[in-house]
C-alpha cells in the first residue's frame, strides 16, 4: 500500500523570530505610551497600568476591590450606565490586580476608541465608590472566596504561597475571611487617591488604533502637573516554612492536589533563562518527563506541569497536579525520581533537540500578532527589559548543552530545597 510511511517529511528549523516594532511615545505629562501597530482587523486593545498592586496596598483585598469598584460608578455615571455603554459598544473592559500593579484593559473595534477612552478616563480619574455597590461587591466576592475554597487545588494553592514565602511575606500573604470584615470604603478611596494619579500611568496599545491615537490619549490622560518616579521598595527575603511537607485533609475528596516548589529568582539572574530549558524538559510541555512518567506511564493524573514564575523581587519554581487520592505518595515519589534522573543522567541529544525546537516554536507562537506580543512587552517593561531578553533566550536555546542541563539540575533540583503541600485525601 502506498504511503505507509514511517519516515518524517523534511522540516526546517526556525531561523529567527521577528519581533514587531514598538513605537515609543510620551504624553504631554511624560506618561510613556508603547504602541504595537499590526493586525488584519480594525481592533484595538489598550492596557493602562498603575502602581496599585497588592504589595502597595499591604493588606489583601484592598487593591483588587479598589480597581473593581472603580468600574461601579463615576461622578457622572452609575454602575449600570457604565456597563450599558460598554456593552452597547460591543467592547470588553476589565481590571486585573497583580502583586505590583493593576492593569485596566479594554478591547474594542477601533472606531469606538474615542468613546472607550472617554469612559475609561472617567473610571480612572473620577470614581465615586458608591456604598451600596461596595457592599454588593464584597458580598459577592466573599461568596466566591468560600466557593473557591472548596476546591482542593485552591486549598493547596493558598497554603503553598504561605509555605514558600512565609505567611507574613508580601508574596506569601493570603486572603482570609477576616479581611472581608476589616476592609473599609475609606481605605479604598485613599488607595485610589494615592495610586492612580495620571502621571503614574504606563500605557500599552496594540492592534490598529488609527492615526488619532496620540491626540486622543493626550486629551484624556495627558494632563497633570505632578511628576512621578517609578520606584521599587525592597521586600524582605522569603522565609520558607520549616516543615518540608504539609498535608491538608479534605473530607470526601476524590483527588489530592499537589503543589511542590521552591523560591527562586527573577529573570535578571543569569541562570533564569537556562533554567527555563531545564523546566521545559521537566514539566513544561505535553511530552515532558513529568507528563510521561506520572500521566502516560503510570496513569495517576489527568495532567501535571511545572512552571517558573518570575516576581519582581523573587520567583517560584513550582509543580502542580491533581492526582488520584490513593496515589498521592506514589506521585510525589515519581516526581522526585525525575529530579534524580536529571541530576545523574545526561538528557539524550534527541530529546534535547526536540525541546529546543519545541521552545522555538513556542516563541514563534507567542510573538505572533500584536496582542500577545503586547502582553509580553508589558511584562518585560515591568522588569525594565525589552525584546533583547528573548534574543538572549534564543541564543541560550541554541547553545545550551546536556552537561549544562545536568549541572543546573544538580544545583537547583535539590529535594531539600523544595516544599510539598497536598490537599485532599
Amino acid at each position: 500500500m502506498a504511503q505507509t510511511n514511517s519516515k518524517a517529511p523534511e522540516f526546517k528549523d526556525i531561523e529567527k523570530i521577528d519581533f514587531l516594532p514598538v513605537e515609543q511615545h510620551r504624553l504631554d505629562n511624560q506618561v510613556p505610551v508603547s504602541v504595537l501597530r499590526a493586525g488584519s482587523q480594525d481592533v484595538t486593545k489598550i492596557d493602562i497600568e498603575f502602581p496599585a498592586g497588592a504589595i502597595q496596598a499591604g493588606i489583601p483585598l484592598i487593591a483588587s476591590t479598589t480597581a473593581n469598584l472603580m468600574l461601579e460608578g463615576t461622578r457622572q455615571k452609575t454602575s449600570v450606565e457604565i456597563s450599558e455603554k460598554i456593552d452597547f459598544l460591543g467592547a470588553y473592559l476589565n481590571a486585573q490586580t497583580y502583586h505590583h500593579n493593576t492593569v485596566f484593559t479594554f478591547l474594542c473595534l477601533s472606531r469606538h476608541l474615542p468613546q472607550m477612552l472617554e469612559i475609561l478616563n472617567e473610571i480612572i480619574s473620577e470614581p465615586s465608590f458608591p456604598q451600596h455597590e461596595y457592599e454588593l461587591y464584597l458580598q459577592k466576592k466573599y461568596e466566591e472566596f468560600v466557593f473557591e475554597g472548596e476546591k482542593v487545588k485552591t486549598i493547596a494553592g493558598r497554603k503553598f504561597g504561605e509555605t514558600i514565602f512565609g505567611a507574613d511575606h508580601p508574596y506569601g500573604k493570603q486572603l482570609n475571611a477576616d479581611h472581608f470584615k476589616q476592609i473599609t470604603l475609606g481605605q479604598l478611596k485613599d488607595f485610589h487617591k494615592n495610586n492612580y494619579k495620571p502621571e503614574m500611568a504606563r500605557i500599552f496599545v496594540a492592534g490598529q488604533p488609527g492615526d488619532k491615537l496620540m491626540p486622543l490619549l493626550n486629551k484624556y490622560f495627558g494632563h497633570s502637573s505632578g511628576k512621578y518616579q517609578h520606584t521599587d521598595f525592597s521586600l524582605p527575603n522569603p522565609q520558607p516554612s520549616k516543615e518540608r511537607t504539609i498535608n491538608i485533609r479534605k473530607e470526601g475528596a476524590m483527588q489530592t492536589a499537589l503543589r511542590i516548589g521552591r523560591p527562586l529568582f527573577n529573570n535578571h539572574h543569569p541562570d533564569f533563562i537556562p533554567l527555563q530549558i531545564l523546566n521545559t524538559i521537566l514539566g513544561g510541555y505535553f511530552g515532558s518527563r513529568l507528563m510521561t512518567s506520572v500521566r502516560e506511564e503510570k496513569g495517576l493524573t489527568y495532567g501535571i506541569g511545572s512552571y517558573i514564575m518570575p516576581l519582581k523581587q523573587s520567583g517560584i519554581w513550582g509543580i502542580s497536579s491533581e492526582v488520584s487520592g490513593e496515589s498521592r505518595d506514589k506521585a510525589i515519589e515519581a516526581i522526585f525520581e525525575e529530579f534524580r534522573i536529571l541530576q545523574t543522567d545526561l538528557v539524550p541529544q534527541e530529546e534535547l533537540s526536540m525541546v529546543k525546537r519545541y521552545m522555538m516554536g513556542e516563541l514563534l507562537r507567542n510573538f505572533d500578532g500584536p496582542f500577545s506580543t503586547a502582553d509580553i512587552y508589558r511584562t518585560l517593561q515591568e522588569y525594565d527589559m525589552d525584546f533583547g531578553f528573548y534574543e538572549k533566550m534564543i541564543n541560550t536555546i541554541r547553545n545550551i548543552s546536556h552537561t549544562n542541563i545536568r549541572d543546573l539540575a544538580i544545583q537547583y533540583l535539590k529535594p531539600e530545597d523544595f516544599r510539598i503541600v497536598t490537599a485532599g485525601m
Binding site: 514511517s6 522540516f11 478591547l107 466566591e144 473530607e251 511530552g287 496513569g299 489527568y302
Partner: protein
C-alpha cells in the same frame, strides 16, 4: 469576510483552506463526524476515551506528540456530544509534518492493551478532576439525565458512569475506530500562511490513498416533546444552593438559532444584561447567574443557572428567574436592547477572525454542518433578527411544561 477555498478528494475527505499571510504559523484541523451521541447507552464516554487513544501512536509512528514537538508544533483535541476535533498549530514551513501524522492515524492505530489501560486511568482521573471532585461538578450528569429520556444527549461526553470507561475492551475500541474514522466522515481545514494549491497537493499526497469506508447512516432516537415540568433535588457538600433550569430548544441549523442566541445574550451576556442587573444587583438574590444555548446538531437545551446568596430561599430564587423569563416572553426586548446584543455579536465575530486556529475550527464545523459559506452569512443572519422573533422564541422555549429544574442544595450539617 473569511476567504476560503474548497476541494473534495475522491475518497470523500472535504478540505477547506483559508490563507492568512499575517501569521508565520498554520493550523491544521481535522474534524470527525462522531461524538458522544453516537455511543451505545451501555458504553458511554467512548468517543472521548477514543480521542485519548488517538495519541497512543501507530505501527508506523510510535509517538504522535514527539514529531509535532520536534518541528516546533503544538497539538490537542476535544470531544463534544456531536464532534471529535483534532488540531495542530505549527510553523507554516513545517506544514507537511501535520499531514503526515494526521493521515497516518486516520488509517490505523497501534491498538495495545497497555495504551488502553493507561488512558482508561487518565480518563478516570479526568472524570474525577472535572466532574466528581469539583463543587457542583456533577450537574451536567444530573441535568442531562433529567431533560432527556431517549436521545443520547442524556449523557455528557465524559460518560454516564466511570464503570463504562473501566469496562472498555480493545475490541470495543477497534470497532469504534473502523465505524467512524474514515476520510469520508471528516473535514480537514487549514488556516494560516499557506496557499490553497500547496494544501490541496499535500492533501492528495497524504490522505488521497486512504480508502473510504462505509459509514452507517445515523439513526438516533429523537426526544419526544416534554409535556410536564420535571424537578430533581440533590444534596451535596457545597457552600451555597444552586439552581439550574433547562428548556428544550432547537438545533444549530434551525433558522431560529440566531434569535435564540440573542435571547440568551439579552439575559446574561455582559454586565448590563437583564439577569445580572435584576437578579444580582437589584434584588441581590444570586452571586452568579448565567444563560446560554447549546448550539447542538440535534435539538439542544437552553440553560439558565444561578448560585444563590446565603439566606435566600430556593422558591424565591426560582420565581425571580421565572419572572425574568416571563417578562421577555410577554414584552420581548426593547429595540435598544436588541441593538446592544447585536453590536456585541458583531464585534465578537470580528474578534473571532483574529486568530488562525479559531478560523480553522469554525470553517471545519460549518463545512461539516453543510456549507463553509455559512461562516460569512452569520453577520447578516444576526442582523435580520427582530424583537418579535426574540419574543416568539422566548414564548416557545420558556413554556413551563418544557422545563426541567435542578435544586442543588448544601448538605445539612449535623
Amino acid at each position: 469576510m473569511i476567504k476560503y477555498f474548497k476541494h473534495t478528494l475522491s475518497n470523500g475527505l472535504r478540505v477547506v483552506v483559508h490563507p492568512d499571510k499575517t501569521t508565520p504559523m498554520v493550523a491544521v484541523n481535522l474534524l470527525y463526524d462522531v461524538g458522544a451521541r453516537d455511543e451505545d447507552p451501555d458504553k458511554t464516554g467512548f468517543a472521548h476515551l477514543f480521542e485519548h487513544l488517538m495519541f497512543g501512536g501507530t505501527l508506523n509512528i510510535p509517538s504522535y506528540d514527539t514529531p509535532v514537538q520536534n518541528v516546533g508544533g503544538e497539538n490537542n483535541a476535544w470531544t463534544s456530544n456531536d464532534f471529535t476535533n483534532y488540531y495542530v498549530t505549527l510553523p507554516a514551513t513545517n506544514l507537511e509534518t501535520a499531514f503526515w501524522l494526521e493521515a497516518d492515524r486516520m488509517r490505523e492505530l497501534d491498538f495495545s492493551d497497555k495504551s488502553l489501560e493507561v488512558q482508561r486511568k487518565v480518563v478516570i482521573e479526568e472524570f474525577k478532576q472535572r466532574y466528581l471532585n469539583q463543587p457542583y461538578g456533577d450537574i451536567p450528569l444530573l441535568i442531562r439525565n433529567l431533560a432527556y429520556k431517549v436521545h443520547p444527549y442524556r449523557w455528557p461526553t465524559i460518560g454516564k458512569d466511570i464503570s463504562h470507561i473501566e469496562d472498555a475492551t480493545l475490541n470495543d475500541v477497534k470497532d469504534f475506530f473502523y465505524k467512524h474514522y474514515a476520510p469520508n466522515n471528516a473535514v480537514l481545514s487549514v488556516a494560516g500562511n499557506v496557499t490553497p494549491e500547496q494544501v490541496f497537493r499535500l492533501a492528495e499526497k497524504w490522505f488521497g490513498p486512504i480508502a473510504a469506508q462505509s459509514v452507517q447512516q445515523r439513526k438516533l432516537p429523537q426526544e419526544p416533546r416534554q409535556t410536564e415540568a420535571r424537578q430533581l433535588t440533590v444534596e451535596r457538600d457545597v457552600p451555597a444552593p444552586y439552581i439550574q433550569m433547562v428548556f428544550h430548544n432547537g438545533k444549530r441549523t434551525d433558522k431560529e438559532f440566531y434569535a435564540d442566541d440573542l435571547l440568551s445574550d439579552i439575559l446574561s451576556n455582559g454586565p448590563s444584561a437583564r439577569m445580572f442587573q435584576s437578579l444580582i444587583k437589584e434584588q441581590r438574590l444570586f452571586s452568579d447567574v448565567n444563560a446560554y444555548i447549546a448550539g447542538d446538531r440535534d435539538p439542544g437545551l437552553f440553560t439558565v443557572t444561578g448560585r444563590l446568596m446565603p439566606e435566600v430561599s430556593m422558591e424565591k430564587a426560582e420565581s425571580a428567574i421565572r419572572s425574568e423569563l416571563v417578562k421577555l416572553s410577554i414584552d420581548g426586548p426593547s429595540d435598544y436592547e436588541l441593538q446592544k446584543v447585536k453590536n456585541k455579536v458583531e464585534s465578537n465575530l470580528v474578534f473571532g477572525e483574529i486568530h488562525y486556529l479559531n478560523k480553522a475550527m469554525n470553517l471545519a464545523q460549518f463545512e461539516l454542518l453543510g456549507d463553509a459559506e455559512e461562516i460569512n452569512r452569520e453577520p447578516e443572519r444576526y442582523r435580520a433578527v427582530t424583537a418579535d422573533d426574540v419574543k416568539t422564541v422566548a414564548q416557545r422555549i420558556f413554556a413551563p411544561e418544557n422545563c426541567s429544574t435542578l435544586y442543588y442544595l448544601p448538605q445539612k450539617k449535623n
